[in-house]
Symmetry: C2
């Protein structure tokens, strides 16, 4: 009896009775309707709108909520103050900073993942089986051999960091984990000047320092200069440094350029260096027979990193790193801990395999959205969209070439198109871009190509139609005339 | 006309018409019902059950899905093969490895976050405002000053890594980002032997090496020995090394011990060292007036890391790092990139503030579940549950003390209770634990305390009632008799 009373008095975050559950479930159904209403009507909304001062105050001015207002009120705040002021990548005319749009299957998978709520450290559970399967599928789709290891990460930066760290452990020639970077010669990493900022940040975090990174120049189409790479390796060897790794890019963030992966793979092989490929957005091009020649050589990577929330169209966040040598992968990260003590049976019988492949121990079930998306849509459908994005980018290139007012700012080999309003200077082109973004009609981003500002369309959007690029070009021409006066 | 035809021919992952949307929305509603049915009935299900061979084959034996089977079929696979074989932390009798159970508000917030699908790099959007607000609330709740910087991470390991890296940059005395660990004297980091494995892994990843980590011994209640810490710092200084940082723990993973944070803060202050606190699960104890004295001194941290998917009861994944010195935080991670070119207005006008506070650039909207959970439930409700967990742990301690068959394996100052079947040896206690886990009745985990195996209850479960601990103790007594024969 005392126990019954205790139980009644004990709290939980769950509703306390059937009526409470029914109320919360009804709210959840309203949320689903709200989410679908939002997605279905997204095309008719502004791509992006700046949060108003009232919204800033409503969100940023709220005291710590000591007493709860209930889930319905919290949802109301979300609907009023949060949802309308998104960065905009679910919209058909968002092409900024290489972001995918996500989809409704992935969205619901996120809900299911949270219902199940596993920590996917690598227990003997179904979430681990699902992630292993997604990694196997990815290895096959990327042309890497059976037995390739891998792990899903939050995104390209983390996936790249993990790959590079495996390479450091595997090819340094000294005990990096034990002794750190002071335990051997200076290790050099090579990339091109077009490499994404993840590499500098990773070199810094890894205690290697930016000074150990040699950024090789690029040719006219923004690919790493091979002769310069070879010369740098030779010079570093002569100076007593140890060439560790070449980082090639399959789809640079600025222009979508793809380094000559086969040649760089050959060089790494000859030099005993680790071959890492950053395919953050470009790697899924490998799924397409048409596009595969562009990224050929990628499958020879010792480690390959890519995102699935970009050109895989899945909701944030999900990236992946694949490592050809599974033992090397584990050797770079595995650690024992007494509370993970070895057991013969039970949920932790096999250790925590994913914790042994990356720096994280707590890991959400991001694998579920990949598994459900791949199963529901099929890889062929995703691949057709990737091809469509490249065709649509070609279409945009044609529109720019046909326009007297616009000019291309760089080659557009894949799905990134950089252009300018021809008679505008850098400040004016920036102004055109900002007015376009503020109009809510479209959100490209900006970049600098060979020292000059450019408007950049990074197209990994499965909702875009060609007519959206017609609207973009018309808008840039119109705003350009307004800004420049001609 | 040609354009209309093109538009019709263009693909998308979205349903192509209203009927398709209606069908997908209906499925989403079924998913919500399924998720609620699962959570409401969770208590009646096994905590954990080993995936059968059939399940392993169904998940692990599937070919790459080239053609899509549709979302309904993918959901069916999830229901049959995935959901029943979870690690179990949503169950009222799961107390393994310090995992929280999540809740339905957080679950729905994950769905809403994916509907909106922002990359929360720190654009001028509402998601950024929400994350900034969650960080501000956390700083206030943890007793840190206004102006404290912070960022939400995937979990404790990543949050701790970020904090330590800020400390390295701020206190090394040389250009770590530029020159790496070879650019100055050997930097030493101090912790106790009870520190979580994140620190070794981070030292390795950061290129500092495990050899630069000095693990100080612990006293009888598993707290860092202060005299040993002082002696180690003095000896290292004398040897020409540079003491960089002391890492204190608020809630060790093995026993829930809390280091003497105030004294360690004093030492760091006197020595010019960075004071980092790993409060992965213990930090939220600070929210409670009753429990605050246990973790007092935590608020003096230069950097503080903690999880919200543990003692914050939110779904995976969400951790947080707070950094007192906002400039130091930014100085350790900020980087410019041409495609993030400076703009006066538009969505990237203020740069990417969260990318400047951690290694990730792509970041999901995990802030939303924190924001909605805090608003819906209120901090007082969460705090009451934290207190309830500690009271329930006290109750379990009493049960163990009252049992002739059981004995405590360590002090239980907070919410972690380690115990043994008294007359069983290590292998037998392991066997008891494994049989208990396999029974599906309860999932504690195991650990090693002072060289001996122990069954470990890590209690951050908002669904547990005292009666669940009655069941646990009865089961361990029964299984113990079966295993040992008395």
């Amino acid at each position: 009896m005392a126990q019954e009373k205790d139980a009644l008095m004990e709290r939980t975050l769950d509703p306390v009775d059937a009526a409470g559950w029914a109320e919360l479930r009804a709210l959840a159904h309203r949320m689903v309707d709200g989410a679908f209403y939002h997605i279905v009507g997204r095309r008719e909304q502004p791509v992006w709108q700046k949060p108003s001062d009232a919204v800033r105050k409503a969100i940023g001015g709220e005291e710590v909520p000591r007493a709860g207002e209930g889930a319905a009120a919290a949802y109301e705040s979300f609907l009023n103050n949060v949802l309308p002021y998104a960065i905009g990548n679910t919209h058909p005319r968002f092409w900024g900073w290489v972001m995918g749009g996500g989809d409704a299957v992935g969205m619901m998978a996120e809900m299911l993942a949270a219902a199940m709520n596993p920590n996917v450290g690598g227990f003997d559970d179904s979430a681990t089986l699902v992630e292993e399967q997604v990694v196997r599928w990815m290895a096959e789709l990327m042309g890497m051999p059976a037995g390739t290891s891998g792990v899903l990460m939050s995104g390209g930066t983390m996936a790249n960091l993990v790959g590079l760290n495996v390479g450091r452990f595997a090819r340094s020639g000294f005990d990096v984990r034990g002794e750190g970077m002071r335990g051997g010669p200076e290790l050099r990493v090579y990339c091109s000047t077009e490499t994404h900022s993840w590499l500098k940040k990773s070199m810094e975090l890894m205690g290697m320092g930016r000074s150990s990174l040699h950024a090789v120049g690029v040719d006219a189409i923004h690919r790493m200069k091979i002769d310069e790479l070879k010369a740098a390796i030779a010079a570093d060897r002569a100076a007593g440094l140890k060439p560790l790794c070449a980082v090639a890019t399959a789809g640079t963030v600025n222009t979508g350029a793809v380094d000559d992966l086969t040649v760089i793979a050959d060089i790494c092989q000859a030099e005993g260096m680790w071959f890492h490929v950053d395919g953050a957005f470009g790697a899924p091009a490998y799924w397409s027979e048409k596009l595969r020649p562009i990224v050929r050589g990628m499958e020879r990577a010792d480690s390959l990193a890519f995102d699935l929330h970009k050109w895989g169209y899945m909701p944030y966040d999900i990236g992946c790193v694949l490592v050809r040598d599974a033992e090397a992968h584990k050797a770079a990260f595995a650690s024992g801990a007494s509370y993970l003590t070895a057991m013969d049976r039970g949920p932790v019988a096999d250790g925590l395999r994913f914790a042994d492949r990356n720096v994280e121990l707590s890991r959400g079930f991001r694998a579920l959205k990949a598994w459900m998306s791949l199963k529901a849509h099929g890889v062929d459908a995703l691949t057709a969209l990737i091809e469509q994005n490249v065709e649509q980018a070609r279409y945009l290139v044609q529109l720019i070439e046909q326009s007297d007012a616009l000019e291309l700012a760089a080659e557009a080999p894949l799905n990134i198109v950089c252009f300018r309003y021809r008679v505008a200077n850098d400040d004016e082109n920036k102004e055109i871009l900002m007015r376009l973004q503020e109009s809510g009609l479209a959100v490209p981003s900006g970049t600098v190509i060979s020292g000059r500002f450019a408007i950049r369309v990074a197209h990994t959007n499965h909702r875009t139609r060609r007519e959206d690029f017609d609207l973009l070009v018309e808008a840039v021409e119109r705003i350009g005339r307004e800004v420049v006066g001609r």
